[in-house]
C-alpha cells in the first residue's frame, strides 16, 4: 500500500515529463495522455482511500520513506511521504477536481496549438501539489510549495505573447517568493531549534520550546501562507493571475493551490496552538482578507476577476477558521473542500460563458445568456447558491460553521470576528448575485458594439479580438466542458450536507486535526439565522441595483470606494509606490555607484600612476649635457658620501 503513495505523485510527474520533452509528435495525443495520468492518479487516490477507510481510525496514517534527499551532518532531509486523513482529503480534492479540469480543458483549449504543453503544465502542477500535501517534512513541502508556484507561473503566463500575461505570471511568482522567505526561515528556525523539520517530531516537541520561538515560526508560516493563498498583504497577485486560461484559474487559483496556505496552517496547528500571538495574527489576516476580497469582488466588471476576489475572500474565511485553533481547523478544511467544488464550478461556468462569447470577459457585455447556455446557467446557478450559503447547499454548512466558530472565539475578539464573517457573508451574497444577474439576466448587452474605455483593464482581452467588433453567437459548450461542470455542481450541492451528516467530516479528520466544539455566546441557531438574514440582505441589495434597473454597458464612474475597489483597493499602487519605485531607484543608483565609485577607485589609482610616470618622464629631456650634470652631481654625492664615511 505505501508504495502507491509514491506512484500518486509519480503518475502526473511522468505525464509532465513525457508531454514537455515529447515534442511535437505528441501534439495529437498529448491531452489524452495528460488526462489519463491525472485520472490514474485519482484512481490511486481512491484505492488508497478505500484502504484507509478499511482501517482503524488510529492507524490510518501511512508513511513511505523513498530515499534520503539531502544528508549533511545533522541535516537529514528525506523524500518521505505521509498519508493521513488530512492529506487524503487534499489528494482526493486535487486529483478529483484536477481530473475534471483536465477533461474540461480538452474542449476549452481545443484551438490552441500549444495544448500539449498546457496539459504538461497541468500535470506538473498536479505532481507538485500532491508532493506538497503528501510530504512528511517541511523541506519537501517547500519543494512542492515552490513547484506549484512554478506551475502557476507557467500557466498564468501560458499566453506569453500577451505582455499582460507575462507580467502577471512574473508578479505571481515573485510575490509567492516573498512568502517563501517565510517558509524557508521557518524551516531554518525549526532546524536550529529541534534539529529536524519533519512533521511529527517538530509538532510533538513544539511544546518543549519557548513561546517566542513558536510565535516566530508561526508568523513565518503565516507569511508563507499569505503569499500562497493571496491573503493580505500579499494578495495582489491573484487578480492578475486571471490572465491565465480559465481552467487554470479554476484549478490552481480557486480549488487547490491557493488553499495550500490553509493546509500549511492546519498542518502546523500544534505550533499555532503553542503561539497565541501568531494565532491572533492569523485570524486578523483572515478577517481582513475576507472583507477585502469581498469588497474587491463587488467592483469588478471582469467576471473572472470578480470570482478571484470572491476566492480571496473565501480563503479569508478558511484562514480565519484555521486561526481559531481546534474549534476551527476542521471547518477550515471543510470549507476548503466545498469551496473547491463550487468555486471550480463557477470558474468553469465563467470559462464556458467566455467560450461562447468569444473570450469576452466584461460582464457589462453579457446579459440574458440563460437561454443560450442552459447547462452553464444551471451549474453556475447551483455554484452561486452554494457560495452565498443558500441553506441546504455545501457553502451553507461550511461557512455557517466557520461563522459560529468565529463567534465562539469568545470575548470582544469573537464578536469582531463573527461580525466580520457575517458582513462578509452579506457582501458575498451581494457580489455573487451581481455576477449572476449581469451575466445571465437582463437585456442582451452584447448585441451592440462596445465602447471600450482604455482605463478599464477588463476590456483588454476583448481588445485581443482586434479591430471591428463581431457580434458573438452565444452557444452551449461541448460535452467535454459541460460534464465536468455538472459533476462539480453535484459536489457543490451535496458535499456540504454529506460532510456535516453527523459531523462525519470532523470525526474523519479528528485523529490528525484536533477538534473541539466551540461554544458561541449565542445559540448556534441564532447565528445561522443571522447568516441567512445577511444573505438575504446581500441578495436584495444586489437585485435592487442590478436586477431592477438595466445595467449600463459602460461602467459608471462610481463612488470613491468603488473606484478604489476596481483598482484592487489600490494595493498595486501601494506596492508600486512603496516597493517598486524605490527599488528601481536603488538599483539604478547602485549601478551608477558600482561604475563610478567601486570601479572608479581602481581606475583612478591606475590613472594616478600613469600621470605620475608621465611627469617624471619630463626629466629625460634628451640633452646629453643635462644627463652629464646629473652624472657629475652623482659623482659629487659619491665623493661626499665617501668623505663622510671616512670622517665618521
Amino acid at each position: 500500500m505505501e508504495t502507491l503513495i509514491g506512484l500518486l505523485v509519480a503518475a502526473p510527474l511522468l505525464g509532465a515529463a513525457v508531454l514537455l520533452c515529447g515534442g511535437r509528435r505528441l501534439d495529437r495525443t498529448g491531452h489524452w495522455i495528460g488526462t489519463a495520468l491525472a485520472a490514474a492518479s485519482f484512481l490511486l487516490g481512491a484505492v488508497l482511500f478505500a484502504d484507509m477507510l478499511g482501517r482503524e481510525a488510529e492507524d490510518r496514517t501511512l508513511s513511505q520513506h523513498v530515499f534520503s534527499w539531502i544528508p549533511v551532518g545533522g541535516f537529514q532531509a528525506d523524500v518521505a511521504f505521509r498519508l493521513d486523513q488530512l492529506s487524503m482529503t487534499f489528494v482526493l480534492l486535487i486529483t478529483g477536481v484536477g481530473t475534471l479540469i483536465h477533461v474540461y480543458s480538452i474542449g476549452y483549449m481545443e484551438h490552441d496549438e500549444r495544448r500539449r504543453r498546457f496539459f504538461g503544465y497541468l500535470n506538473l502542477f498536479l505532481a507538485a501539489m500532491l508532493l506538497l500535501v503528501l510530504a512528511d517534512n517541511y523541506l519537501l513541502l517547500y519543494a512542492g510549495w515552490e513547484g506549484v508556484g512554478l506551475a502557476s507561473y507557467l500557466l498564468i503566463g501560458f499566453w506569453q505573447h500577451k505582455p499582460s500575461a507575462a507580467t502577471a505570471a512574473k508578479k505571481a511568482f515573485i510575490v509567492n517568493r516573498v512568502g517563501d522567505i517565510g517558509l524557508s526561515i521557518a524551516i531554518m528556525i525549526m532546524f536550529t531549534t529541534f534539529g529536524t523539520f519533519a512533521f511529527s517530531p517538530v509538532l510533538e516537541s513544539v511544546g518543549g520550546t519557548s513561546e517566542g520561538t513558536a510565535t516566530a515560526i508561526g508568523l513565518m508560516l503565516l507569511l508563507a501562507a499569505c503569499g500562497k493563498s493571496a491573503q493580505v498583504p500579499l494578495q495582489s497577485w491573484l487578480g492578475d493571475a486571471m490572465e491565465g486560461p480559465t481552467p487554470v484559474s479554476a484549478l490552481i487559483h480557486a480549488a487547490t493551490m491557493v488553499t495550500a496556505g490553509v493546509y500549511l496552517i492546519v498542518r502546523s496547528g500544534a505550533i499555532f496552538d503553542a503561539a497565541p500571538a501568531a494565532q491572533t495574527a492569523v485570524v486578523t489576516v483572515g478577517a481582513v482578507t475576507l472583507l477585502f476580497g469581498a469588497i474587491v469582488g463587488c467592483a469588478k466588471d471582469d467576471i473572472k476577476k470578480a470570482l478571484a476576489g470572491s476566492t480571496m475572500s473565501q480563503i479569508g474565511y478558511m484562514v480565519l477558521a484555521a486561526g481559531l485553533g481546534p474549534i476551527g481547523y476542521a471547518f477550515a478544511i471543510m470549507h476548503l473542500v466545498t469551496h473547491g467544488f463550487f468555486k471550480a464550478g463557477l470558474f468553469l461556468g465563467a470559462g464556458s460563458v467566455m467560450h461562447g462569447m468569444n473570450d469576452e470577459v466584461d460582464m457589462r457585455r453579457y446579459g440574458g445568456l440563460r437561454k443560450y447556455m442552459p447547462i452553464t446557467f444551471a451549474t453556475f446557478g447551483l455554484g452561486y447558491l452554494a457560495i452565498i450559503g443558500f441553506p441546504g447547499l455545501s457553502g451553507f454548512f461550511s461557512k455557517d460553521k466557520i461563522i459560529e466558530a468565529a463567534f465562539a472565539k469568545g470575548g470582544t475578539e469573537g464578536w469582531i470576528l463573527g461580525g466580520a464573517a457575517l458582513l462578509g457573508a452579506a457582501i458575498t451574497a451581494f457580489y455573487m448575485t451581481r455576477v449572476m444577474l449581469m451575466t445571465f439576466f437582463g437585456e442582451e448587452r452584447w448585441r451592440n458594439a462596445p465602447t471600450p474605455s482604455p482605463k478599464e483593464p477588463s476590456v483588454e482581452p476583448a481588445a485581443e479580438t482586434g479591430g471591428e467588433y463581431e457580434v458573438p453567437h452565444p452557444h452551449e459548450s461541448p460535452k467535454s466542458m459541460t460534464v465536468p461542470m455538472i459533476v462539480l455542481a453535484f459536489g457543490s450541492v451535496f458535499a456540504g450536507g454529506l460532510f456535516s451528516w453527523g459531523e462525519a467530516f470532523v470525526h474523519w479528520l479528528e485523529p490528525v486535526v484536533p477538534f473541539e466544539h466551540g461554544h458561541p455566546p449565542v445559540s448556534a441557531l441564532t447565528v445561522t439565522a443571522a447568516t441567512v438574514v445577511a444573505l438575504l440582505i446581500g441578495v436584495g441589495a444586489a437585485w435592487l441595483q442590478y436586477g431592477r434597473k438595466p445595467v449600463p454597458a459602460l461602467a459608471p464612474r462610481g463612488s470613491l470606494l468603488t473606484r478604489a475597489a476596481r483598482r484592487d483597493l489600490l494595493q498595486d499602487d501601494f506596492n508600486h509606490v512603496v516597493l517598486v519605485k524605490p527599488g528601481e531607484y536603488l538599483t539604478r543608483g547602485l549601478v551608477y555607484l558600482d561604475h563610478k565609485v567601486v570601479d572608479g577607485a581602481v581606475n583612478g589609482t591606475a590613472a594616478a600612476v600613469g600621470g605620475l610616470s608621465g611627469r617624471s618622464r619630463r626629466i629625460q629631456n634628451g640633452y646629453a649635457r643635462s644627463y652629464a650634470v646629473s652624472m657629475l652631481g652623482g659623482a659629487a654625492v659619491l665623493v661626499a658620501a665617501t668623505l663622510l664615511m671616512r670622517a665618521v
Binding site: 618622464r617 629625460q620 629631456n621 634628451g622 640633452y623 646629453a624 649635457r625 652629464a628 650634470v629 657629475l632
Partner: protein, 99 residues
C-alpha cells in the same frame, strides 16, 4: 714644496674640464674638455707614482692616454658623421633620446 699641490692642480683642472663639458654646446669643445679632465687625472696619477715611488701610476696614466687616443678618434669620427647628417656640431641638436 708640498706634493699635494699637484693634486690640487689636478683637481682644479678636472673641475674646470667638467664644467666645460657641462657648459659648452660645441661637441668638439666638449671633447676637449673631456681630454682636459683625462689629463688632470693623468697628472694626479703621475704625482702619485712619484709619491709612492713605483711606476704603476705612470702605467695607468699611459693606458689612460692610449684609451683617450682611441676615444678621441672614435668620438671625433662620430662628430663628423653627425655634422654631416645634421649640419651642426652642437650636442643639444642631437637630443633624440627623449621620447
Amino acid at each position: 714644496m708640498n706634493p699635494v699641490n699637484y693634486l690640487y692642480l689636478a683637481a682644479l683642472l678636472f673641475t674646470i674640464g667638467a664644467s666645460g663639458v657641462l657648459l659648452r654646446r660645441n661637441a668638439i669643445v666638449v671633447f676637449m674638455s673631456v681630454e682636459l679632465m683625462l689629463n688632470a687625472a693623468n697628472l694626479a696619477l703621475v704625482a702619485f707614482s712619484r709619491l709612492h715611488g713605483n711606476l704603476d701610476g705612470q702605467i695607468i696614466a699611459f693606458f689612460t692616454m692610449v684609451v683617450a687616443a682611441a676615444e678621441v678618434v672614435v668620438g671625433l669620427a662620430i662628430i663628423v658623421t653627425i655634422f654631416r647628417s645634421r649640419h651642426s656640431a652642437s650636442v643639444d641638436d642631437a637630443s633624440l633620446m627623449k621620447l
